[in-house]
Assembly symmetry: C2
Homo-oligomer: 728 residues x 2
Amino acid sequence: MTSIHAQSEASLWRDLAPLMEPKSVAVIGASQRAPAAGVVREPRGNRVIRNLRNFNYPGRIVAVNPKYSEVMDCPCYPDLASIPEPPDCVVLAVPNRHVPDLLESAAAAGVRAGVVFSAGFAEIGVEGKQRQARLEALSKEHDFLICGPNCYGVLNVFRRAPLFASLIPQGFLAGPVALVSQSGGLSTTIANALMLNRHVGLSHIVSCGNQAGVTVEEYLNYFVEDENTGVVAAFVEGFKQPTKLMAVARKAMAHNKPLIILKGGRSDVSQRAAATHSGSLAGTAEVIDAAFRQGGIVHVRSLNELIDTVSLFSCDTFVKRYNGGRRIGVLSGSGGECTLVSDAAMNVGLEVPELSEDSKARLPEVLPDFGNLNNPLDGTGAMYDDDKIFPRLLQALIDDANIDIVTVNLEANDPRPKELKSGTRFSRAIANAAAPANKPIAIFSSIVGGPVDPDILLPLRTAGVPLMEGAECAMSALRHLADYHQFRKSWQASRQKEAVAVLSHPKLPAGILPAEAAFRLLDSFGIPVVPTLLACNAEDAATTSERIGFPVALKVESAQITHKSDVGGVALNLASPSEVRATFTQIKNQVTTQNPSAEIAGIVVQRMAPEGIEMILGIKRDPLFGPVIVCGFGGILVEILKDVAIGIPPVSREQAHSLLTGLRGWPLLTGIRGKPPADVDALCDAIVKVSNLALSLGEQLLALDINPLVVHENNHGVAAVDALVQIG
Amino acid sequence: MTSIHAQSEASLWRDLAPLMEPKSVAVIGASQRAPAAGVVREPRGNRVIRNLRNFNYPGRIVAVNPKYSEVMDCPCYPDLASIPEPPDCVVLAVPNRHVPDLLESAAAAGVRAGVVFSAGFAEIGVEGKQRQARLEALSKEHDFLICGPNCYGVLNVFRRAPLFASLIPQGFLAGPVALVSQSGGLSTTIANALMLNRHVGLSHIVSCGNQAGVTVEEYLNYFVEDENTGVVAAFVEGFKQPTKLMAVARKAMAHNKPLIILKGGRSDVSQRAAATHSGSLAGTAEVIDAAFRQGGIVHVRSLNELIDTVSLFSCDTFVKRYNGGRRIGVLSGSGGECTLVSDAAMNVGLEVPELSEDSKARLPEVLPDFGNLNNPLDGTGAMYDDDKIFPRLLQALIDDANIDIVTVNLEANDPRPKELKSGTRFSRAIANAAAPANKPIAIFSSIVGGPVDPDILLPLRTAGVPLMEGAECAMSALRHLADYHQFRKSWQASRQKEAVAVLSHPKLPAGILPAEAAFRLLDSFGIPVVPTLLACNAEDAATTSERIGFPVALKVESAQITHKSDVGGVALNLASPSEVRATFTQIKNQVTTQNPSAEIAGIVVQRMAPEGIEMILGIKRDPLFGPVIVCGFGGILVEILKDVAIGIPPVSREQAHSLLTGLRGWPLLTGIRGKPPADVDALCDAIVKVSNLALSLGEQLLALDINPLVVHENNHGVAAVDALVQIG
């Protein structure tokens, strides 16, 4: 037996410097042909050189093109081998059919990385898949770093290295956010929205397309280690390396660099779309959800939620002032918005508490005629008419001890002409109040959309006040921040206990394990089972029954029979040796009559378990993540409502507990309808031990299904009553 | 007994013309004082006059102010009585304390309507509530129409009558959408977003505030009857007249004028906020949901969903070309967006079918090098580089027989400088294709937010192609359209059967009805019950048992005992007369010992019902809607998951059926785990009869709780086993 999980995390990662921080670049596919009238049609190779110039790239740029000796003032060579010193990275702006040969010759010439823009690889038919296979082999066998194919490439802002297919004008906003998106189009859409609609700066943009070489997980790791990056954002269609994903989540948590990820491909249709587009396996939605939850990854559900969550998390002043609480104060000039934002806050589990008694006493002193003393605080038309009112209301929320986060409803995106708007006045007041405040302040508009006024946006962002659009997105983003804060706190507390030492298990015979062997396996991992033994004849059964205690159940054991009760192979509640003896014979006869060909290995004798809450606990194989723990309530909750919790091994006791509290049926375990609370501790323990079993058995375990696992009342433990173990 | 529901619907409604189409207006609160530097601070009265001028109001405008003989070139009178001919409507831009007196004098002077801007009524303390009570009395007793208080007033675009507190510049976009919002601020926010971000024109804007006089329901009715209005949008915090709401929903359906409503105030906090702000009762969220569903009201969940749903429904060409199907085709230049929009479509239940075989065969003919033949159709970078590709792909979707609605992902809100954008090119191609198309086409952006490019928006809207922002909102809006279409179709089909004739029921004694009386009541409405009779002595019980058939249950009957089994007052499964006799005596003794003070009216004999699915069916009183039907499954589904369907009486058989299919536990009725399907017909019938009971008993019925109603297998009916009826 060898200890698993001993692999050093450092050995997981490659050095991405030749791709992300190249000291020299060769561009293949740039030409002297003058750019066409529409800028969009300039060849991609030329666009890359233009981008490098716009960013003042400090490294060496060469072009490769047999037709010219120079392109856009760069030296141009007929082929890669002719370049005097091999560049770190080659950018391929050429049709897909040329790509594999070119990359292979680049690797041979000593180049260490390549960016491939063109589509037509794993996302299309057989030919494309073969092309992609050559890239994957090159990446693996020669440790050659490939970004793409089917992508826009990489842009390292602080290293001034934009190996990027889409034209990026000067005046790019640098900042702490690193972005990776498989999709090229969305990478720029997200980046532009962050920079121009939120004034959020970027450290990197990576569009990684089909991930034939470097994977999303590797970029995430690079960002987490990057000194210029504080927040990592991603749009992902399919992960390729789930182990690395979980590892980078742990590392991000240790560095306090939040990973904020939008994962597409939840539906069958979108999985079809993702497979077409990027050739990735999208992974089961529920398992991805579970992995994100377990890793403390901020899981956003739409592009706008991504943008506003990033807007919030990347606002340093805001985050530093945040105390982890979930009580928000709201100031608005619209009573209607007070109602809507309250709904939105409740929806995501934030609190909108009443104002403190202190505020209620002090507000009338500074605003004698102002009637409203509520949270949300409705400034009414009065705050538009009288310049004194707004700052005093805002200060009251900042000073209120009941409030953790102050939010102000401000239409920074009013589409009307400037002279009709009043937002600038309020934004000045907010910026003034924010400077000396010790509490985080954010603004949100009622509606999402419309031109964001830079005169409002920039001064506020500079003052540490992030903008979000729409109450729903704003409340979701704040909830993510609160969740992240809470996760990190409990992660820090539980860090010492984290070490999981699991020994690998010897190989088991393939197929469905016989009941006795299955129960022995569970027992060997410390999972409580009802006593279960195989008897070969009636006398043996009677003796065994006496040993394990009455009442007992008898269940026929035969590899050919799956539905035992359908063939009369099960008898319950047998109370005496004579009853057991008679029933043994009866079962054997009945089964033989109905299934003459079935080989009967014997009959299992099992002590009847006392009643309790029937749950299911098991292990399933996810196509991406491999073995995952599945837990839920038996009966209609799982059958009709699919109320199932999923954990990615290793699962700790704390994680097991939070899996259970996440079940809709959770109140059943806490004791409802006058019933005593169930033994949740023992249940958590069983989940942890099933997780250990999953890790120990590794790939040989195809499925485990304990159904039911009976959970008794508190201090009375749990017991597996039926178990199916499938070995591959 | 008198027939209810005979009231003519016409008699429900008042004529709002003096308020909505006034021939003359008096403004109180305009002044000669020059407007201050900031336009926002101009007195509201002056703003109203300015608005009337901007709109070329054709009626007479006078001002009322004892200080001047004219204001802004209008004749000015010292008081209302001095105006030679009383105006139709008076606009009050004065502090709240003057409002009641002024309105009462206006009514006395023959004025028929008033608009009250000021706050400080029911939304604040005692004094405000008294002020509002005077307005409500005036409205009721003198049929005086009041808009507000605490509002921005009314704006009738086609009558050029803006009695509106917020300044509305010239160039207002007239169109088919009427908007009512209690909130003033949100009324203009919504209207501006519709006009400027969606190019959707408006017929009216009403901000009705506290609804002291005219209610939201009355404005909705006015809009439904208005010839210039085709679509009605509303943001409502609290309804006041649920009967009128249901009536206007029916009328809107008959006129095919969709009601699209955002209802705030779902949470406790927001109900607190709404009560503060507009003094309305927000109503139970679940009952509102049920009422909207039953009335075919389009129920949107956010301001952006409101805006995009209105954008879609108000696009005449789109709606006319729509066939009612749910199969969407998507064209995008971003594979990532193809994934996201597929997720969004699946989330709301739209289909994204594969392309037809015909398309798959024909596309390669027009685009030989184009590999992707999927839906969503990923145009890839190719469609940016080659002008021929996009129109051909679009045409393929328009021609595809598998697709009902064509959507195009187009960034009309790209925040970058003009020279970097390529949207205009695609928008031209869409406009060209839309003209001859026989299929509805819509566009949506990936991200919500940023400046909407008028060069893209206007030509497309004119070509009948509506814009929506974000895949989520776009898919929700399309789903609403499909649902509305389907609702209206089945509403048209079932229209003939709609007549409900219910007789009012004689008064019952107050309190909890004795069991026998409760069962008799159910029986008299045709609701199946298990035979249940009261016996006064043991012999009587035995005889009764023989008559109704064994086995039977005995249950003590006493007004003082609620939990019968707790005091030994229940016995089940008695199989013979002798057992019944003995048990009768035993129960009586036991109950008397435990509850010496309880008066025992007798013991109820009830035939044991055969087993079946246990449901609950009853009537609860909602604070706003009054009696509502409640139906769900017994056990954990109702206790833990609150899985309950709500219907507003009268409930038809079709509606009863859709209540049941909406339950999460619905599969239990269709037969799962090898069980036969349940008698859903009989269950629907019972729901309709409970609805009749609710209408007949009217206000005297406080609550009805049939628990359990046992539902037997198909063709075996249902039976009420326990019933609690509370009369007030």
